[in-house]
Amino acid sequence: MSYQLPDFPDMNYYDRKKRTLLDQLYVKEIGRGVWITSKHLFRNLFKWLTFRKGGVVILYPEEQRPDLSPNNRGRHVLVQRRNGSPRCVACQMCATVCPASCITIEAEESDDAIIQKRPKVFNIDISRCIFCGFCVEACPVDAIRMLPTTEKLVGYNRFKMIYDRDTLLHWNPVVNDDVVHGYNPI
């Protein structure tokens, strides 16, 4: 083992030491407490004064986190084909595997004879979704992906949190066939 843990100074106290009078008076411990907490205070204050990240609080719906992991399982997108139609073939795999049963798919016949099927309705109930990423894994044609961002995942009304096919498809039109975005289990 290359790295040895340091001994914590007061951790070797078993069997319980008898407390001295100095320990029983609060004075020494108050001094130590003030020293430790003020170290943290001034370190954070210095960071804040030099415009670095001091606090860790984000006002979520308005602010977005800039430092989210690229693997984060965030918002769903449906991938487009090059002509803008959804790549989904309505095979119901994602709806089957979904542990929260939040995906609803209705199929219809496609104009293209090779593709045969396409989704007429593709709803994801974001208020029920648990963001496990199983739908992404289950898709046999790589038609659904999850982006790292958590933008627009809030709503005042639970009925407005059901996202339909067009919202999922056009939310991020930048997605094209060649670039792998976000959570992808390959």
Binding site: M1, L5, P9, M11, K28, T37, S69, C132, A138, D142
Partner: protein, 418 residues
């Protein structure tokens, strides 16, 4: 039928006499104890649990502990989902150590199938289990601190925990409910520099821990409220079926990782810390020592882990085929559809597998009828056992002592009520 006779030493009067309570509080013969309800949703209780305390003066003479307010029918839901798609439910058992639950559930099914996981996967699972044990102990310790009134160590613990959780996000895709395990492997490999960063994060936790020890170790308020409060005897703890740090604080060195070694725990050096008195302070002490031991295991895992190699086993009967095979071959596509629609089909049989979760022995008892769904799955939740012994600990103490006692037993609602 003869009436079941209770031995004299277990009768409530005898128990009370042993604890020398009956002589203490009752002021006059006509007095009745006052009932105080610490409701299911109380700011000082973490988790939804109801306690009806009978009090004489400030002393509790009897207490009724009622768990079950967070019951979500976990075991029933497991009967309605295929094995892989039920995995996210196990995340929500003990939501602070989702990894350990995931790996325990998955290992049960692997045992039934007879699948052997790869070397790298076993090391990764060991590392993730220990990291999440650290985060759970951080959470519990933070709760004890804040309940006693020390808010600053709470925030330091939370900061240290969040560094680890954020780092999990880079590997798994979620901060808390990872759903990272798969039958026969893991969902995905970790990023390249993940292990080195993990080491740095663990090292940066140590100064924070030192600060916390500086604040708490000789703090008289903390010592007075924990030492000698909430004592339980070794015998009582064993009889109630308690495991984990709680049992170890009474002096029994039972740890599933040593007793029935799984994953890679017999290939790393570590020891089982035990306590002496079984009171609040011993539980705090044992958890602190376990954080140290877990840190040791983590550093050893990072050292010994093979840096390359397959994550998933070659056994295709249980986990999804790799994506290129699904996209390009018809066999892969059929396999993919069969596993998702019907679920992997283990042989018929019953099996029990236990892992050491942060609160004790977490066991999964699985009855398989040969289909892709569990016929019955029972979870032996460590928190539930501690609830059975809680009245033994609390009786005889004061109302204000309920809060630190309840904090130090670390009951997690999701796991206890299932």
């Amino acid at each position: 039928m003869a009436e079941l006779e209770i031995p004299a030493k277990y009768k409530i009067d005898e128990v009370r006499k042993r604890k020398e309570i009956l002589e203490l509080p009752i002021a006059s013969p006509g007095d009745e104890p006052i009932k105080i309800n610490l409701g299911p949703s109380h700011p000082a209780m973490h988790g939804t649990i109801k306690m009806i305390a009978e009090m004489v003066g400030e002393t509790i003479v009897n207490i009724d502990v009622e768990p079950g307010f967070l019951h979500r029918g976990f075991e029933k839901m497991m009967e309605n989902h295929t094995y892989p798609s039920a995995l996210p439910y196990t995340d929500r058992l003990n939501y602070v150590t989702a990894f350990i639950n995931n790996f325990g559930y998955v290992a049960t099914i692997e045992k039934l199938f007879g699948i052997e996981i790869t070397e790298r996967c076993a090391w990764l699972r060991t590392l993730f289990s220990e990291l999440s044990r650290i985060t759970d102990h951080y959470t519990c310790q933070a709760a004890i601190c804040s309940e006693i009134g020390a808010m600053t160590p709470f925030l330091y613990f939370m900061q240290a925990r969040d560094w680890i959780w954020e780092h999990f996000n880079w590997a798994t895709g979620a901060r808390q409910t990872y759903s990272y395990a798969r039958i026969g492997g893991l969902a995905r490999d970790i990023p390249d520099d993940w292990l080195d960063k993990c080491k740095e994060i663990l090292k940066s936790n140590i100064p924070l821990l030192k600060d916390i020890h500086g604040l708490m170790d000789k703090n008289r308020i903390f010592l007075d409220r924990t030492q000698g409060v909430g004592e339980i005897s070794q015998e009582d703890a064993i009889n109630a079926g308690i495991t984990g740090p709680f049992l170890r604080s009474t002096g029994v060195g039972y740890d599933v990782r040593k007793a029935l070694p799984y994953l890679k725990y017999n290939e790393v050096e570590w020891e089982v810390p035990v306590g002496k008195y079984g009171d609040n302070y011993d539980r705090w002490f044992i958890r602190n020592r376990e954080i140290e031991e877990s840190l040791k295991i983590c550093f050893q895992c990072i050292e010994k882990m093979p840096r390359t190699g397959p994550i998933n086993s070659d056994d295709y009967q249980a986990h999804l085929p790799y994506k290129p095979e699904v996209y390009q071959t018809i066999e892969g596509l059929i396999n993919h559809f069969k596993i998702i629609i019907e679920g992997p089909k283990p042989p018929k049989g019953t099996i029990y597998h236990c892992v050491e979760a942060a609160n004790g022995e977490l066991g999964f008892f699985l009855v398989s009828d040969g289909t892709g769904t569990a016929y019955r799955l029972h979870v032996r939740a460590p928190s539930f056992m501690t609830m059975g012994a809680l009245d033994k600990i609390i009786i005889g103490h004061q109302l204000a002592d309920i809060i630190p006692i309840f904090g130090s037993v670390n009951m997690v609602g999701g796991e206890c009520d299932r």
